[in-house]
Amino acid sequence: MKIPLHITVNGQPREILVEPTRTLLETIRVDLGLTGSKEGCGKGNCGACTVLLNGMAVNSCLVLAVEAEGQEVLTIEGLSQGNRLHPLQQAFLDQGAVQCGFCTPGVLLLAKSLLDTNPHPSEQEIRTAIAGNLCRCTGYDKIVRAIVAASKQKVAP
């Protein structure tokens, strides 16, 4: 039996029916068609499916959709303002931190949650924070540099 679910996704209130066994990741990708969130392992070990749930980074493959009832979800599709990239996205572009792109959405959202709580993290704090997000292409060097660059740019408007 499907269960009604009320969630706000990227600022838009949504009301859908979901199977109780549906993960938040499946709901985002399949039911809502937002395929920017990636499934790399389905076990919470790779971080590719990271989204923000009420501002907190979660592995959406480990959250049941019904657990998100009444909450706000931010996915990669909601990070930029229209065509204007978020400072983190811009920093990733400028620093060459994007290669195959499969880890990129998850790392960006994790980095946003980090900077929201710790606006000027040290290199070690960044490394610890993103340790749950695997990347095989970059060796993390340029990702860490991009997060540092974004943290320096992010001035209160």
Binding site: L85, G96, C100, G101, F102, R136
Partner: protein
């Protein structure tokens, strides 16, 4: 050196915007109406006879549309993708099901009845070579240069190489050392699991969307496998979420097409991470014995190497290039190499970033350090004394053209991370080298001039490392336009001209050459038409700054825009530049790594304090992207060296998750310093391959650093905390 406007500049990747915003499309993002979900029944045994296989209950399950077994698969597809009478590795596919949901498809797997008769498992390459070892294939006869063996064995291939007289060489040596090294199986670790979607139209034409490194290569393999002419297959390459040699499409491709044909509906197959770890084509484990001899002055006199490559359950189609690359950085008058490719009850191996070379370099470069130590010589000086230069011969008998091996060592010698002292107990600095020839092949490109004088480039290569951006840089440079005025499409096999697979560190060299030719072709046509328009001979005009102008009279010109506009409204017709590159010469490249580690003697944990990768790239068209390739390779090498492993019990993988198979995280690594050396090759713009060389030295560099830090010589990978701790303890006990 030539001054360029757009080459040698770090333009941001053109594909980055889509990847940063979640718009980039990977296979698993596709949703085709009516699409079914395909899953595979995998063997729970590593070696067993299939006594009975009954799929009737699965077929009867509501929602199941198609079930296939070996009976549905042509023999040309081989038995590695689906077992017939015997399963030969854990997770060897036995059947596949397509159903309306993944849940139903998985439930159907549970309804398939299989009776297995377990057989003795052969899981070690050296054991598998013994005469009394159980045979995997009753009809496997060792192939070698002298022909085929007369009795079957698990040795699929024997390669030997001889140069000079090794006995005489060792007799001249003041120091001789012989040791054996072992490397483990590792996975590519791409973050996007294997995936494809296949659809068959009413006329039988197959369209397959795939995560592949080479759309055309995949099409050829798929065609040969299923007996289909290439005109009946269209491969649409999607964004690839990491390849590293592991994405050739053939793990799922044939099964997906057969399910789609049988079901008459599109079928999607996406591996779980567990399946990918169990079923993909990992790097071969090796056992390598290296004997080196050198004079008191440090000149190598002879090398004797025996390499055993475990191919997994089926003989590897790839000749293990480690046979050649391991020793090729050094001048060696006398060489003897014996190479064995051996089958065991493990997943068939495949290509992984510089296939075979890191394993060989691990053995050879560790042994080079042992020799330097025995000679009382600095390891860098020892390598300087023996490094190859132009005119020397590689082990594959290639005579080196201009190469930058010496220059790479010079760069190391001057690098602050090599020069500065490393202080502290249990800290050590390791050095290792590694070379790679780079693949060759054929590719073509088409450059259309749009009606407004902008450009549209069409290529059929897959962009793994930022090659789209490279090609736009080339067109902008050659035609003197802004990169914004150039679009690039990486087409599918029905739309784009042929491109070889993006592998072997070849795409920028090889497709880059085709793109350069297409630019020259378009420019020549502009000059022909410009000269005609100006009423002068072709020799009197030149192409410059978006114009065809009279030499010496730049005020007499016709603009690119006018020529472009005229091209679509006159009999001359549209302007299309065509380029085709055939087998560019190999562009050997050396990488040398310097790594500082600290070892905790209480736990054996190895911490990488700093890492410096020096590499001759010929010419860095986009330095930031070159650095990114090098840094990624170093991280992969660190995982191979320190933590990644396939742990088998009775041939069954025990750690098939990313929790238990530990790839390096950001917290495991420091910043990775790169130092780019540019000694031009004779490829266009002087480029050399970039992506593979930087993984080659990494395993040995870390092992050599651990030796310097602790005095223990780790001869077996991975060098986990436990392994290092045991080695330290064994050494203390003497």
């Amino acid at each position: 050196m030539t001054e360029y406007s757009f080459l040698g500049k770090s333009l941001p990747r053109l594909d980055a915007a889509g990847k940063l915003t979640g718009k980039a499309q990977y296979v698993a993002d596709l949703n085709i109406p009516g699409m079914l979900h395909g899953v595979i029944l995998r063997s729970p045994y590593a070696h067993a006879r299939i006594r009975r296989l009954d799929v009737s209950k699965a077929c009867a399950l509501p929602g199941v549309v198609a079930v296939i077994t070996a009976a549905d698969i042509p023999a040309s597809a081989g038995r590695a993708i689906m077992a017939e009478d015997k399963v030969l590795y854990g997770s060897h596919p036995v059947a596949a099901v397509a159903a309306v949901t993944r849940e139903i498809a998985e439930a159907a797997l549970g309804c398939i009845e299989v009776e297995y008769e377990p057989l003795p498992v052969v899981s070690d390459g050296v054991e598998a070579m013994k005469p009394d070892a159980p045979l995997l294939h009753p009809n496997l006869y060792t192939e070698s240069m002298t022909g085929k063996a007369s009795t079957p064995s698990n040795i699929a291939n024997f390669t030997e190489f001889r140069r000079g007289d090794v006995e005489a060489g060792f007799a001249q040596a003041a120091v001789v050392r012989e040791d054996t090294y072992r490397t483990q199986m590792i996975h590519h670790g791409y973050l996007e699991p294997q995936a494809c979607v296949a659809q068959v139209d009413s006329g039988g034409k197959v369209t397959i969307w795939a995560s592949v490194q080479g759309a055309f290569t995949f099409r050829e393999q798929l065609g040969a496998s299923l007996g289909l002419p290439l005109s009946r297959i269209r491969v649409v390459p999607m964004e690839v979420g990491g390849g590293f040699g592991g994405k050739n499409g053939m793990l799922l491709g044939p099964l997906c097409v057969l399910l789609a044909q049988k079901a008459g509906r599109p079928v999607r197959m996406v591996m779980t991470r567990e399946e990918d770890l169990r079923m993909a084509r990992p790097a071969p484990p090796t056992t390598i014995t290296v004997k080196l001899g050198a004079t008191r002055e440090g000149l190598l006199t002879a090398a004797e190497v025996t390499m055993v490559y475990e191919a997994g359950a089926f003989a590897s189609p790839l000749p293990p290039s480690g046979f050649v690359t391991g020793l090729s950085p050094y001048c060696l008058p006398n060489v003897k190499v014996n190479g064995y490719v051996v089958v065991v009850n493990k997943p068939p191996v495949g290509a992984l970033r510089a296939p075979g070379a890191p394993q060989a370099a691990f053995a050879v470069e560790c042994q080079m350090d042992q020799m330097a130590e025995a000679l009382g010589m600095d390891p860098l000086q020892f390598r300087f004394k023996n490094i190859v230069t132009q005119g020397d011969r590689a082990l594959n008998d290639l005579t080196y053209a201009r190469i930058g091996f010496q220059e790479v060592l010079e760069k190391v010698a001057q690098h602050p991370n090599w020069v500065r002292p490393l202080e502290g107990k249990y800290r050590g600095r390791g050095l290792a080298c590694g070379m790679w020839f780079g693949g060759v092949g054929s590719s073509a490109a088409t450059l259309n001039i749009n009606a407004d004088g902008t450009f549209a480039l069409l290529v059929g290569s897959v962009d793994l490392t930022g090659t789209r951006t490279i090609f736009v840089q080339i067109v902008a440079e050659e035609l003197g336009v802004s990169p914004d005025e150039v679009s690039v499409v990486m087409g599918d096999t029905d739309t784009a001209p042929y491109a070889d697979i993006a592998a072997g560190s070849r795409t920028t060299r090889q497709m880059g050459a085709a793109v350069q030719q297409a630019c020259h072709d378009a420019k020549a046509e502009l000059i022909r038409r410009g000269a005609a328009s100006l009423g002068v001979a072709e020799g009197e005009v030149e192409y410059r700054d978006r114009r065809v102008q009279m030499k010496g009279h730049p005020e007499k010109f016709v603009s690119l825009r006018d020529l472009a506009r005229a091209s679509i409204s006159t009999a001359a017709g549209p302007i299309v530049g065509r380029g085709a590159s055939t087998r560019p010469s190999p562009a050997p490249s050396l990488a040398a790594h310097v790594v500082d580690v600290e070892v905790d003697p209480e736990t054996g944990k190895v911490t990488v304090l700093s890492y410096t990768a020096v590499q001759d790239v010929g010419f860095a068209i986009n330095p930031t992207m070159v650095e990114g390739q090098i840094q990624g390779a170093v991280a992969m090498g660190a995982g191979w060296a320190l933590s990644e492993d396939y742990i088998f019990e009775d041939g069954i993988l025990q750690n098939a998750s990313l929790m238990d198979y530990h790839q390096p995280t950001a917290a495991d690594l420091p910043m990775i310093d790169t130092a780019i050396v540019e000694v031009p090759s004779d490829n266009p713009y002087g480029v050399r391959g970039v992506g593979e060389p930087p993984i080659v030295p990494s395993l040995a560099a870390i092992a050599n650093a651990i030796h310097k830090a602790t005095g223990v010589r780790m001869s077996k990978l991975p060098m986990t905390s436990e392994a290092v701790w045991r080695a330290i303890r064994a050494q203390a006990k003497g």
